[in-house]
C-alpha cells in the first residue's frame, strides 16, 4: 500500500489511500511507498483538486479531443472504426538525468541501425565478418534486394524512428522494439501537451517542463535536408494511404503543422523520372516525400501489385536520385524482431562501444536450441510475430489458454523465422484514473527520433497506457490510451 507523505491539511484529499503498487515498479512511487521527488508537485496538486473539479477537467479534456478530431482507426472490428484515443490526466514525469541517459541510448541506437542498413545494402561487412547471419537479413520480408548498391541521400535510411521503451520491475529502461518504417503516435504526443497546458496551466509552468512543440519544425527540417535540389525551397509532401488508414488523423495533423501538402497516390505523377504533384495551378515538382505508406504500396509497377495507393514510376525517380523518401526503402529489416536481437552486436561492431540502453532478451525460434526452449516454456513467454506491428498476433503465455498455446506451437514449428519469444516483463505502472479512483496501469514510452543534418529527439515521447486492468498491451489498437510525458529541465 502506498501512503502519501504529503502533509495532509484540512482540505487535502489523499488520492492514494487505497493505491497499490505491489509487485511492480511504479513510476510515481518506485518500489516504495513515498512519491518520488519529481512527482511531489503533481501529487500535491492532485490532493488539492476536488472530485467535481477533477471530473470537469476530465470532461473538458475529452471534449477537446473530440473537437480536435484526435482519432484513430481500429482494424478487424465491424463496429464504427474511428475512435477517440483515450487520454489520462495524470502526466508521466521523467527527471532530466534519466532523460539524458535515454536520449544518449536512442541516439546510439539509431546511428547503429542506420549504419547497419547502409552496410547490408552495400558491402555487407557485418555479415562477412560473421556478426549477423546472412539468412537473418535476407529472409526478412522487408529486405529489399533492389536497394543493393544504391546510395541513399546523405547516407540516411531511417529519418524518423519510434523506439518503444519499457521499464522492468527494477525500473530499468529497456528497448522493446524499434519502429523504423512509419512510426506513428507523435500527433497524440503534441495534442496531449496542448491539452495538458490548458488543464494544468500552473503546475505545468511551475514544474519547468521541456517543450515538445518544435517537433513539426524539426521534422520539416529533416525532410528538407534530404532534398536532391540544391537551390530554392524544397517541395516536401506527405503521402498518405488515405482516410481509411489508422493514422489518418496524424497524417493531416502533421501536414498542417508543417505547412506542406498532404497527397494520395492519385495526386502525384511521374514524368521522365521526375515526380510532380497536380495542383490547381498546374504541376509542381516534388523533392521529398514523407511517406506514411509501406514499401510495398509505394509503386505498383515496381513492387508488382495491383495497389492503387502508390505512384507508378516513383521508384525510378527515387533510384535516379530525383526524389527523396523518408523513411528510405528497405528499413523494415531494421525493425524485424529477429534483427532486434542483434542490435547490441551492431553497436559493438560499428561504434566500438557497449549499448547504453539494455533490451529484452530474445529467443529466435529459427535457432534450434531457442525453438526447443520456447516450445517447452510457452506459458512463461511472450510470443511475437517477427514482422507485425500494432500488437497484433501475439501470445502472452501466462494469460493464454491451452488451445491458443497449441495453435502457436504449430505456427512456430511451421514457420520458425516468423516468431520470436521474450520473457514476460512486468511493465512499470503509473497512477491512472479509472472510474473515479486512481489505480496503477501499465505504461510504455515511445520517443521519436529524427535523423537529418543532426539527430534530434523532442524530450519525452508518447506514454501509452494499458487501460484494462492487468493488461500488458498498450497499443492503441488493443484498447490502450495515452498520457502526457513531462521531461523536467535539468
Amino acid at each position: 500500500m502506498a501512503q502519501n507523505l504529503h502533509t495532509v491539511d484540512a482540505v487535502a484529499i489523499n488520492r492514494f489511500k487505497d493505491y497499490s503498487n505491489t509487485g511492480f515498479f511504479d513510476e510515481m512511487f518506485g518500489t516504495g511507498f513515498v512519491a518520488q521527488d519529481h512527482y511531489q508537485q503533481i501529487n500535491s496538486r492532485l490532493s488539492q483538486i476536488g472530485d467535481s473539479e477533477l471530473e470537469t477537467k476530465q470532461q473538458q479534456v475529452a471534449s477537446s479531443f473530440l473537437e480536435h478530431g484526435v482519432t484513430f482507426t481500429v482494424y478487424g472490428e465491424t463496429e464504427g472504426t474511428e475512435r477517440i484515443f483515450p487520454f489520462d490526466l495524470i502526466p508521466r514525469i521523467i527527471p532530466s538525468d534519466e532523460w539524458h541517459e535515454i536520449e544518449q541510448g536512442l541516439v546510439q541506437r539509431i546511428i547503429a541501425l542506420n549504419l547497419f542498413l547502409n552496410d547490408i545494402y552495400k558491402d555487407s561487412k557485418i555479415i562477412k565478418d560473421g556478426v549477423i547471419p546472412r539468412e537473418v537479413v535476407e529472409s526478412s520480408p522487408h529486405y529489399r534486394a533492389e536497394m543493393v548498391g544504391f546510395n541513399v541521400p546523405k547516407d540516411i535510411y531511417i529519418h524518423i524512428c519510434g523506439s518503444d521503451l519499457i521499464r522492468d520491475e527494477k525500473g530499468r529502461y529497456l528497448v522493446l522494439e524499434d519502429n523504423a518504417r512509419c512510426p506513428s503516435g507523435v500527433s497524440y504526443l503534441l495534442e496531449n501537451r496542448e491539452i495538458m497546458k490548458k488543464a494544468f496551466p500552473r503546475t505545468y509552468r511551475e514544474m519547468s517542463v521541456c517543450p515538445v512543440e518544435a517537433y513539426p519544425d524539426l521534422l520539416l527540417k529533416t525532410l528538407e535536408y534530404l532534398s536532391p535540389r540544391n537551390s530554392g525551397k524544397p517541395v516536401c509532401v506527405l503521402l498518405t494511404p488515405g482516410v481509411y488508414n489508422s493514422a489518418y488523423f496524424e497524417h493531416t495533423y502533421l501536414a498542417r503543422q508543417m505547412g506542406i501538402e498532404i497527397v494520395e497516390g492519385k495526386d502525384l505523377i511521374t514524368i521522365e523520372d521526375f515526380l510532380f504533384m497536380r495542383t490547381t495551378h498546374g504541376l509542381v515538382q516534388v523533392d521529398v516525400i514523407y511517406r506514411r505508406l509501406d514499401d510495398n504500396f509505394l509503386d505498383p509497377s515496381f513492387f508488382k501489385n495491383d495497389s492503387l495507393l502508390g505512384v507508378s514510376g516513383l521508384m525510378n525517380c527515387y533510384l535516379k536520385g530525383n526524389v527523396s523518401l523518408a523513411n528510405g526503402i528497405g528499413t523494415g529489416v531494421a525493425d524485424d524482431k529477429v534483427t532486434y536481437a542483434y542490435v547490441p552486436e551492431m553497436i559493438r561492431y560499428y561504434l566500438a562501444q557497449e549499448p547504453i540502453l539494455e533490451q529484452v532478451p530474445t529467443y529466435l525460434c529459427w535457432r534450434e536450441d531457442d525453438r526447443k526452449f520456447v516450445l517447452e516454456n510457452l506459458q512463461d513467454l511472450v510470443i511475437k510475430p517477427a514482422n507485425e506491428s500494432g500488437g497484433y498476433g501475439m501470445l502472452i503465455g501466462s494469460s493464454s489458454s491451452r488451445k491458443e498455446r497449441e495453435e502457436f506451437s504449430d505456427r512456430i514449428k511451421k514457420s520458425p523465422r516468423d516468431y520470436i519469444a521474450q520473457p514476460i516483463v512486468s511493465l512499470s505502472r503509473h497512477p491512472t484514473f479509472c472510474d473515479g479512483s486512481i489505480e496503477g496501469r501499465h505504461v510504455d514510452l515511445r520517443p521519436f527520433v529524427l535523423y537529418g543534418d543532426d539527430i534530434e529527439i523532442v524530450p519525452g515521447g508518447l506514454t501509452r497506457v494499458a487501460l484494462q486492468k492487468d493488461s500488458l498491451v498498450v497499443n492503441s489498437s488493443q484498447g490502450g490510451g495515452s498520457k502526457d510525458t513531462w521531461v523536467l529541465k535539468g
Binding site: Q104, V107, K122, K125, D155, L351, A352, D454
Partner: protein, 283 residues
Amino acid sequence: MRLYVLHKTHYSYPSPVRNSCNELRLSPLSNDWQKCITCFVSVFPTTKTRQYLDLNGNLVHYFEIPEDHSHLTIESRSTTTTSKRVDFGNFPYGVPMRSLKEVESSPEARPYLQSSHFVDITPEIWRQAVEIQGDSKDVFQTAYQIMEFVYLNYEYCVSTTSVDTHVSEVLKKRKGVCQDFAHAVIALCRCLGIPARYVSGYFYDSSRDQIMRGGGASHAWVEVLVNGHGWFGLDPTNNRVVDETYVLIGSGRDYRDVAPVTGNYFGKLPDKMEVSVNVRRID
C-alpha cells in the same frame, strides 16, 4: 556546462580509392575538469571500428576500408560536461622562470621541451622569445605575453598555410590559422624552457556576435606547464585563457600527435574536402 559537438568530415575522390586505413582522434577526453558523457563516431562507407588509447593517452578510433570507394564521411557526435577550470581572478603567478630547471627532466615535462615534427628549437626562435619575455621573471606571465604577442602580431588567415606547415614558416610569415598560432606559441615557450603542448578540441562561442576565430572547424590551442599548478590552456587565436567553454579532445607534442583524421590509402588526393563543426550548449 554541457556541450554537444557535431563534427562532420567529408572527402570526395576524383576516382575510387582503396585500402584506406585511418586513425581518428575525435573523441573528447575525460579528466579533472571535463567529462565525455558519450561520443559516437560513425564512418561511411560503413565498416567495423575499433578503439584504443595512443601513447599520449588520447582515444583513437581506427578503421579500414579495403574496398573501392569515392567518398568518405566521418561523423563524430559527442556530449561533454565541463566544469570551471581556471580562476580568472587568481592566475598561477609567482612561479619564477628560474625554477623551470627543476622540471626539465621530469617525465611529465620532458617531451614538451624538445623539438618535434612541426616545432623546432633554434637560436632565432630563442632570440624572438627572449625579446617577448622582456623583463618578465614569471612563468605564467611569460607564457601569457607570448600568447598575446602571437595574437596581436599574427594575421589570422585561412588559406596561406596548410596542415603541413612547419613552425619556421609560420614565424616568418606571421600568418595562419589556430594550428599555426599554437605551433608558434609552443616553439617560443619551449625555447625559454616552458613545457608546452599542442591541444586539439572545440570551443563554444558564447560571445554575442560569434566573433571568436576558429569556430566551425576543429580548434587548437596550447597548454603550458606551470610547476606546482599543472597545465594551463592558452588560446592564442583568441587571446584567451582556456576555460569551461573549451572541449579538449587530446594533446601531444604538436599537430601530428593529435590530428583529427590521419591515414593513408591507394588513390588520388581528394578533390573536395568539407568539414563542419557545430558546438551547441545543451543545459
